[in-house]
Amino acid sequence: MGAILEIKHVSKFFGGLAANSDVSFELAEGMIMGLIGPNGAGKTTLFNCITGYYPPSRGEVIFKGRKMNGLEPNKVCKLGMARTWQKVRPLAKMSVLDNVMVGALCRTNSLKVARDIALEQLKVVRLDRKADFLAGGLPIGERKKLEVARVLATRPQLLLLDEVMGGLNPAESEEIIQLILDIKKHGITQMVIEHDMKAIMRISDRIVVLNSGEKLAEGSPEEIVANQAVVEAYLGSEH
């Protein structure tokens, strides 16, 4: 199983602030990689660098053996990489179905085919009953599901999920966990940012920990739990 994604010495500077500094790791195909770290650690920034939302200041992102730096996000998406936003961004004035269809248009020019793909993905996230609702009117839990359906509709090989469980109640979180595991069964590689430790431990095959922009640790969930540095970063050194 080869690496679908390679991060090589990626740094991102905002003025003097190093939001990411010299981060390197690889992501094997079909795996779920957990990305954790305290607030402001640079997780979202790393996603932005990977998806081409902005290019990294230094280093390289290699997706399927191809160097991505500076590639436009729409092209990145066509290559098979898609992400959700920490702060969900549905197209509020469109219907739920239309939102997902926009994603599907990444793969087809036919509105009819796009509609079929969209309905299928809405079923996957169990939102098909709300297909005709305005996206802006959905409660937060369903908006997150919509976000997932929308990226799934782009038929990605690598999916980057930024805190899809944030703000959800336990029942909703459980639904999302099942959803992530379902997606894995379809062979889609995933990278998941999540603050809920229990959840991340359950779903991840490997975990990378970021702190102050740097990679603090990397390993299996068991290794991470056992890692003293991680515990300190999260809970403070007095622990």
Partner: protein, 514 residues
């Protein structure tokens, strides 16, 4: 009521064109968050394009959009790719400077080529109009039918189109219906008679005879209501005269009947130019089928009537009155030659006096055509945005450029499409107004401002808002011009604009922004 409806309708019609300009601006703003201050100048380019196609290729201005739409689309797309693209992330003031600058370059470049002279594009139908809503404005059924009949006869007599017989046959029905609603109306009977006589002239044989007989009937009925009405008697006599021309042996008795009517008319009004003129013409015509002394006698009589007619004719201002005394006592040969000149081409057509009433709302033909095109284009645009993949992608880009891009939408391409579409819409609006507006290089400024007001009024980025906004501005201008004063119509528009900004800053259909 009629004035209100009239200005409302013209307001809606011109508002349609305004909507087109506003929609273009709002699409560009929606997709790129750039206010295109060169929008009116794009419209001006469209006007000049239309003018050139008209002037040098004789292309109808409304047809010219077939060329104008793709040409303006390419031009707009190019502007986007070369210029606008570079300022997409820039400060608003930089974007404003760029688009204003582009507008200035356009208007000055056009001025360089075409000078700042006003150009006018005059088509066959530039000042045509037609009537609508007659039944609303003129609820009296009799009058409506009567007016319709008159309009048909007037059209037939004007000789347009060569289907006079058909029109007169229709008029026949209208008068009949009118008189069924309200029997015994003098004017309807008089005009009916005249129109039947006219129709008879276009027919032959028994058909003509039957029509003449019916015309007689109507004239008689009308004359019974107003004996001595000069128009009736004149038309009646002319009807006999034109009948006589095709009657062969029976001609003389018909001419006698015509003279009877002329005499009745003379008793009622001894100084009618029309009456004596027609009388003279009739005598001259009868003389043509006679020989020798008989012909000379008729010619002398015709000459006599002609002189009376000249006396009765109102002298035109500045013209010398004709000395009719000097015309008396001419030798028959001279009289003959003179009458050939005067009556050789006398039209034996009844003179109709349909009392001109302004029933119905008059709609300018070019404005109406442009409105129809506007509606078609707007519907097409709506269909494109709602029902095609590219349309969906454009809408997604307008809602959230970054999210759309991350979902695989090529937002640069969408921007080029959006600016191209905006430019085509502006250019189309330019083509549509070119038959009714003066064309000059600086006209863009007015329309940029108007487009801006329309989009802000409707809500920036909302197509429905721009459509409604355009119509509102059109109607406000038109009502303002009628009920306040033409010079104040812009004031009405801006007061309306300020009120909306005060009470609903996000515009009528805009979502409020945080």
């Amino acid at each position: 009521m009629a004035i209100f409806l009239q200005s409302l309708i013209s307001g809606v019609l011109i508002g349609g064109v305004y909507a087109l300009i506003g929609i273009g601006l709002t699409i560009i703003f929606g997709v790129m968050r750039v206010i295109n201050f060169a929008h009116g100048d794009l419209m001006m380019i469209g006007m000049y394009l239309t003018w050139n196609l008209f002037q040098y290729f004789h292309m109808d201005p409304f047809m010219s959009i077939v060329v104008g739409i793709p040409a303006m689309f390419l031009f707009g797309g190019l502007l986007q790719k070369v210029f606008i693209n570079r300022v997409l992330g820039a400060l608003p003031q930089n974007q404003i400077l760029l688009t204003i600058g582009l507008g200035l370059i356009m208007s000055n470049a056009v001025m360089l080529v075409y000078t700042s002279d006003y150009k006018i594009l005059t088509t066959r139908y530039s000042s045509d109009s037609f009537k609508v809503l007659q039944s609303v404005v003129n609820p009296d059924k009799y009058e409506r039918l009567y007016d319709k009949g008159n309009a048909l006869v007037a059209e037939a007599l004007a000789g347009k189109g060569g289907n006079a017989a058909e029109l007169l046959a229709k008029a026949d029905k209208k008068y009949e219906e009118a008189l069924k609603v309200k029997p015994g109306q003098f004017r309807a009977l008089a005009n009916w008679g005249a129109s039947l006589a006219s129709l008879a002239r276009l027919r032959q044989g028994e058909e003509a005879a039957a029509l003449y007989a019916r015309a007689d009937e109507k004239f008689a009925a009308a004359a019974a209501i107003e004996p001595g009405d000069i128009d009736i008697l004149c038309n009646w006599a002319i009807a006999y005269a034109s009948r006589a021309a095709t009657a062969g042996p029976g001609a003389d008795s018909l001419y006698e009947k015509a003279y009877e009517k002329f005499k009745e008319g003379e008793e009622a009004r001894p100084d009618s130019y029309d009456l004596f003129n027609a009388w003279g013409a009739t005598l001259y015509r009868q003389a043509l089928i006679k020989q020798g002394a008989e012909a000379d006698r008729l010619l002398a009589a015709a000459w006599e009537k002609y002189r009376v007619a000249l006396d009765a004719k109102p002298v035109e201002e500045g013209a010398e009155p004709v000395d009719t005394e000097a015309l008396a006592n001419k030798p028959p040969a001279e009289i003959r030659a003179a009458l050939d000149q005067v009556y050789g081409k006398f039209p034996f057509a009844p003179r109709l006096k349909p009392d001109k009433r302004d029933a119905g709302i008059s709609v300018s033909t070019p404005l109406a055509i442009s409105f129809v095109i506007t509606v078609a284009i707007t519907l097409l645009l709506y269909w494109f945005l709602m029902k095609t993949d590219t349309g969906q992608a454009i809408r997604a880009t307008a809602q959230d450029r970054e999210a759309a891009q991350l979902m695989g939408i090529n937002v640069k391409r969408m921007s080029i499409l959006a600016f191209g579409m905006g430019a085509s819409l502006a250019g189309t609006a330019g083509a549509l107004v070119s038959p009714t507006y003066y064309i000059f290089p600086q006209i863009g400024g007015t329309f940029t401002l108007k487009a801006f007001v329309i989009t802000v009024l409707g809500g920036m980025g909302s197509i429905l808002g721009a459509t409604v906004g355009g119509i509102i501005i059109g109607v406000a201008e038109s009502l303002g011009a009628v009920y306040i004063s033409a010079g104040w119509k812009d004031v009405v528009v801006y007061v309306l604009f300020l009120l909306v900004l005060l009470f609903k800053p996000s515009g009528l259909f805009g979502k409020s922004r945080v």
